[in-house]
């Protein structure tokens, strides 16, 4: 082996001692590098939440646990029979997960099984009341024509009225009786009635939406076309602007739209844009690149900037899910999963492809029975293999536990592991190659 200080000579005995220590040093360095390589190729992903510090502390890299399905935060105290839920999201590829609880006091409690299911957190929200067509939709069933205005189905009392108001014949979507059931009936539109709210206009190359009898401008043609067809807007000239006052509000992109601006991709929701922190987060939420629309600085200027949308964040209001098995659609709104009962209704809310979710994945639960740790009686832990959940879409794992007595939890640890296997090694290689391509080839 090469000597970095040849000019410094040692006696025979000392040199022999030096060589032995040197071998140990190089061996230790080799083992350390081998261990680091193991961590790089077969990484663990750790999450923890401590009830002893502030929930928003950066040391808590898991979102706050909550009780039952109500999303009420838990302070760590669990009554007998009460269910505690917590979520930890990871990309696919992890083969098992170890869940560990540290309790305040030693307890004789044996937890009932710790359960885990895989889905998106937003898909686990409680189901709300079904929703009908979006405002502005023009619908036709048999010989009746309707407009959806303020959530209500308003019937045009005759074809002449439709013509007189300026609607185009081909702008009405033919629907079934079933589709009509979810919007309450409003008053019929009679001759001489003013334009109902939610009527769309095209005036001097700008699109408008009538709300509270005031005209709200669309921020761009793109914002209009993401929600409506060209034929739905009634053509008017600039004189029409004198009949209805202009509102100071404006109509932007539909909630849940993915927009790209400069180098980032953002999610739009409630007049705020949320930059997505990485391509991994984008893909982990089930988003698809073909659903991203480019937006200019002029369009983005209407929005405030929100927080960085990372792996831990849940889908925002306006996201539409589609259950793979039964093609059921859901709209996320106000921490509820609102059913959109038919495909026509779903299409009226978003023209882009929904996020695919699995009902079977949502209902499939894996479990393990936690046991007290041998070294520390305050710690209970168990490990769950994740193989049976791998095929389901989604990257959010929802855990729940129930105790058979009142307990006080200090800390929850979740440790995802990848087993050492040829398959995981090949997956690692593919990931590295795709990341290099992303860095150097794709712009």
């Amino acid at each position: 082996m090469f000597d970095f200080s040849k000019e410094i000579e040692l006696g025979k005995k000392d040199y022999s001692f030096y060589q032995k220590i040197r071998i140990i040093l190089y061996l230790s360095a080799f083992l350390a590098m081998a261990y680091l390589s193991y961590l790089v190729v077969f990484p663990h992903k750790y999450f923890s939440f401590s009830f002893l510090i502030d929930a928003n502390s950066p040391k808590n890299n898991m979102s706050e646990p909550y009780l039952a399905e109500s999303n009420v935060s838990s302070p760590g105290k669990l009554s007998s029979g009460e269910k505690l839920f917590f979520d930890a999201s990871v990309p696919n590829g992890y083969t098992s997960v170890k869940v560990r609880f540290k309790l305040k006091e030693k307890t004789t409690s044996i937890f009932l099984p710790i359960e885990v299911r895989k889905s998106y957190k937003a898909f686990t929200y409680k189901t709300g009341q079904p929703l009908g067509f979006k405002d502005g939709s023009l619908l036709e069933n048999k010989n009746d024509s309707f407009i959806v205005s303020n959530g209500q189905l308003k019937k045009f009392s005759s074809a002449r009225i439709i013509e007189g108001l300026g609607y185009q014949k081909n702008s009405f979507l033919k629907i079934s009786e079933d589709d009509l059931k979810y919007n309450p009936r409003g008053e019929d539109i009679l001759a001489g009635s003013p334009y109902p709210d939610a009527t769309l206009f095209h005036i001097d190359d700008t699109y408008y939406f009538l709300r509270n009898q005031k005209l709200e401008k669309f921020i761009s043609d793109q914002a209009f076309f993401l929600q409506y067809e060209e034929s739905q807007a009634i053509e008017k000239n600039s004189e029409f602007l004198e009949k209805y006052p202009l509102s100071e509000n404006w109509v932007g992109f539909p909630n849940g739209t993915l927009v790209s601006n400069r180098d980032s991709v953002n999610v739009i929701s409630q007049n705020i844009f949320f930059p997505i922190d990485s391509p991994e987060t984008f893909l982990s939420k089930g988003f698809a690149w073909e659903n991203v629309v480019p937006a200019g600085d002029d369009e983005m200027s209407f929005y405030e900037k929100g927080y960085l949308f990372n792996f831990k964040k849940t889908h925002l209001d306006g996201t539409i899910f589609k259950e793979i098995e039964e093609s059921n659609y859901f709209l996320i709104k106000g921490e509820e999963k609102i059913p959109l009962p038919t495909e026509n209704i779903a299409r009226s809310w978003s023209k882009k492809n929904p996020v695919l979710a699995s009902k079977k994945g949502f209902e499939t639960k894996l479990a393990c029975n936690s046991e007290k740790s041998f070294f520390n009686p305050k710690i209970s832990e168990c490990e769950i293999p994740l193989k049976n959940l791998e095929s389901f879409p989604g990257f959010s794992y929802q855990f729940n536990i129930t105790s058979d007595q009142d307990i006080d939890i200090d800390l929850i640890d979740v440790d995802y592991k990848k087993t050492v296997s040829w398959k995981n090694f090949k997956d690692f290689g593919k990931t590295i190659i795709s990341q290099i391509i992303l860095n150097y080839v794709q712009k």
Partner: protein
């Protein structure tokens, strides 16, 4: 400083071992920087570069202190050309990698300035030593 407690021979052994550990840390640092340049976060997700640099710094301090205690004097050596060329090429690759997102003309200009600055600093140090 350590002379009374540890014999000079032991200090020399420690000195030589510290040189070996400095070599190991430097090789590790270069490999880590190269990997991080290719795939960001592949190393820094597990160990921060600050910690590696800090370890190298501590190692250098220890070499200086032990060398002074053992009164070790090493003659000034000519720079190893192979090592110098390797480090220069590696440094240029790192700079170039960091400039990839810029316009190519600006990137080449910055790279040229970095090479010229590096050469002038190196030449000044050599002339001072002479």
């Amino acid at each position: 400083m350590f002379k009374n407690k540890i014999s000079v021979e032991k200090l020399i052994i420690l000195y030589k071992l510290l040189l070996d550990s400095l070599f190991i840390l430097s090789v590790f640092f270069i490999l880590a920087i190269f990997s991080e340049g290719l795939v960001p976060r592949i190393i820094s997700a597990h160990i921060s570069f600050f910690k590696i640099a800090f370890l190298i710094f501590l190692n250098l301090i220890a070499i200086y202190i032990i060398g002074k205690s053992a009164k070790i004097k090493i003659e000034n050596q000519k720079p190893n050309k192979k090592t110098a060329i390797f480090l220069a090429v590696f440094g240029a690759m790192l700079v170039f990698n960091s400039l990839l997102k810029l316009k190519i003309s600006l990137g080449i200009f910055i790279l040229f300035l970095s090479v010229v600055s590096g050469y002038l600093v190196y030449k000044n140090i050599l002339e001072q030593e002479k």
